[in-house]
Symmetry: C2
Subunit: 193 residues, 2 copies
DNA sequence: ACCTGAACACCGTTCAAGT
DNA sequence: ACCTGAACACCGTTCAAGT
């Protein structure tokens, strides 16, 4: 075992990988996560086989983007606890995730699959996301701000539904709908937890 | 003008049209509204050109299905007013529409586009749907059960979001999420209308 | 008036051949 | 170890030719 395991990749391979990621980021933003892989390879200046060599499928590409290029989203979630009320923090997190997912049309669907399907390439990213969701949800529940029958899976699902809505309607209506949606999570007039 | 205008179509044309619709209904249920049109034509036993002759695009196909084969949904909506509380009627309508849209994966997105885009082939179907939504929403609002800041467009959007959720999660969770979603529409603890 | 199916453009995915 | 691009299968859409 002299240097096997994770080796440093060849310089041109690393560069090609990076180019593909950059092209995918742009294409996913402009045309959604269903954008043509051939187009992405073309844009990146590599052959289609090179793209497949680095990323065996669309999920792997999306997962790599989240892990390597969208770190800010997760960092934002890590810094939220303690700032403002627990409900405000949870709401801010839902807004950040749904806004991010809406910027990549179709990502919300992938994030739903990744949450359930352990074999999904996006499962790790989802686990990291829902860990944050769980922390913020627990705090909000303990503060008595959110109903007891709302699970982490529920918040994850509603956050992605908010992302889906944001893809469909103008921003102002999306904000309003998200607010209504959060309203459904809050403890009610009858004091139900 | 002796017999021009809407003429009775040739018998074989009518039969082909019907066969395409039946095949599309099945394919859309099994594979979603993105199902292969070539596959639908094959299943219907007609050439691909025949399908295009009757339905110039996917939207026309979906619209025809709603108009000609899914009459029950609209009839259900017409019979709802007056049965039970206004909120229960609105909830039942949202449940029926979202359940229907979830059975045809992707239809929810088309129904959102059809609502806004007047040129959409689905615009008429959406108008008919939202007319019912408006009646039931007005009644619920007048009964003081639903907030004043909830528009017909909002209910339409949330209904389709519920359909999207139903495509993503198991039925029990979908029911729970739909309930939470409706909860956000109700008048609140502070008596806000 | 309607139907047929070839034709064109495009894409996802694999893999033998190269360097 | 990685890259290339041809090859295969499939699809959306159009349209000239048939009946």
């Amino acid at each position: 075992m002299s240097g096997t395991g994770t080796r440093r990749p060849r310089a041109d391979a690393r560069r090609n990988r990076e180019r593909v990621l950059a092209a995918a980021d742009q294409a996913f933003r402009e045309q959604g996560t269903g954008a043509s892989l051939e187009g992405i390879a073309r844009q990146a200046g590599v052959a289609i086989g090179t793209l497949y060599g680095h990323f065996p499928n669309r999920g792997a590409l999306s997962a790599a983007l989240l892990r390597e290029r969208h770190v800010a989203l997760f960092e934002f979630g890590d810094e939220l606890p303690g700032h403002g009320t627990a409900l405000a923090a949870l709401t801010a997190w839902m807004g950040a995730v749904s806004g991010h997912a809406a910027a990549y049309r179709g990502l919300a669907t992938l994030l739903m699959q990744g949450f359930t399907d352990e074999a999904s390439e996006l499962h790790d990213a989802c686990a990291r996301m829902t860990a944050t969701t769980e922390r913020l949800l627990s705090a909000a529940r303990e503060a008595g701000a959110v109903r007891d029958d709302v699970s982490t899976a529920d918040v994850h699902a509603l956050t992605n539904a908010a992302a889906w809505l944001r893809e469909q309607v103008p921003p102002e209506q999306a904000d309003h709908l998200t607010a209504l949606l959060v309203r459904g999570l809050r403890t009610g007039d009858d004091g139900t937890r």
